[in-house]
Symmetry: C2
Subunit: 188 residues, 2 copies
DNA sequence: GATTGTCTACCATTAAGTAGGTAGATTGCT
DNA sequence: AGCAATCTACCTACTTAATGGTAGACAATC
């Protein structure tokens, strides 16, 4: 027995991250999974339901990764670097961030999805703020700067680097930007 | 006589930056301009033609702004800050970057548009690299770092900040990220 | 008189979503 | 254990609306 729902989520994520939310259709997804278009509606009645499930699964994966980083990496810069490497996979596979793909649609995006991706970013910001605050406390991160502002700056840099370096298909350049970012966080 | 072509470009830019390239249609544009759908095809035979014209106009506006900044602002950090303020308008108006909106579509984007937006980013990177190199030479920018890598990092940070802070409708947060970015470029 | 800009009216294709049905597994009841 | 009811997951066939794009007519203008 193959888990069709999981397969749908996986292929849909690849499609959205590769071409945007408005840029893929149930027909595309049906072809990718090898199922009929109508059968998708059995699992995800509307495209909005599918989008929301996509964001939920994506956010859950990230949440687990963030927890693992906090557990396994001791210092602030090391944690931010590990966080940045989560984005690197996207550059290597030619896939953007799911939530960036949705965020681009802006006003056209169903309210529910807009809320969900805002929560996604808010979660990352809260995690980073805590990480940076801890780093400042233990001296691994340069003091003086507001951790909340620093967190926004970190997410922005990585989201932007993923967006641009995917276009240029340049993981090396992404690594370079990550290095500049992390170096700037260390105490001088 | 109203310049319909210019009006089409203006409204189309707002639509693409607000909802993405796949997220707007000729019907939307026709309604926005107050013209019939078929008339748009007279000015821009295909959607790709329109997209290319959009990128060309957008790139030309940026090119003029970059030249003005180089002329009017003397030091490296000041120039980068002025560059960053070009993005701020987008956050304030709730509009993303045109080229980011196109870049998200990735593999689904017509090859021609992909080339055009790659050139857009390459132009900015070259300008910034020169600006940063000059800044290092005159001592206004911290030395040691590779200007090309630094340029990629600057564009990434601003593109990412525009993407995220538009979602949060927070020009203040964008300003905060810009401040962190520019401060990090100054010599310690 | 040719070109420019707009129109109405259309086309083929694709979009998301629905209706209704079928085969097979699971469940509850006697 | 036997059996009917239900549920799950899929199907074909369809609807309605929207998509990008075309054909050809009509005025105004150069």
């Amino acid at each position: 027995m193959r888990d069709t729902r999981a397969e749908l989520l996986m292929q849909a994520e690849t499609l959205v991250r590769g071409r945007g939310y408005a840029g893929f259709s149930y027909a595309d997804l049906a072809a990718a999974v090898g199922i009929r278009k109508a059968s998708i509606h059995h699992h995800f009645p509307t495209k909005i339901d599918l989008g929301a499930a996509l964001v939920a699964a994506y956010a859950a994966r990230y949440a687990a990764a963030l927890e693992a980083i906090r557990r396994d990496v001791p210092d602030g810069p090391g944690r931010v670097e590990a966080y940045g490497r989560l984005y690197l996979g996207g550059v290597e596979q030619g896939l953007g961030c799911l939530c960036a793909a949705l965020a681009i649609e802006g006003e056209a995006l169903p309210e529910r999805l807009r809320r969900d991706i805002a929560a996604f970013f808010a979660d990352h910001l809260a995690w980073l703020e805590a990480i940076l605050r801890e780093g400042q406390a233990d001296g691994s991160v340069r003091g003086g700067a507001d951790p909340a502002a620093l967190a926004r700056y970190v997410v922005a840099t990585l989201e932007g680097a993923l967006l641009m370096e995917r276009l240029f298909a340049s993981p090396a350049a992404f690594r370079g930007t990550l290095a500049v970012l992390v170096d700037g966080l260390r105490p001088q």
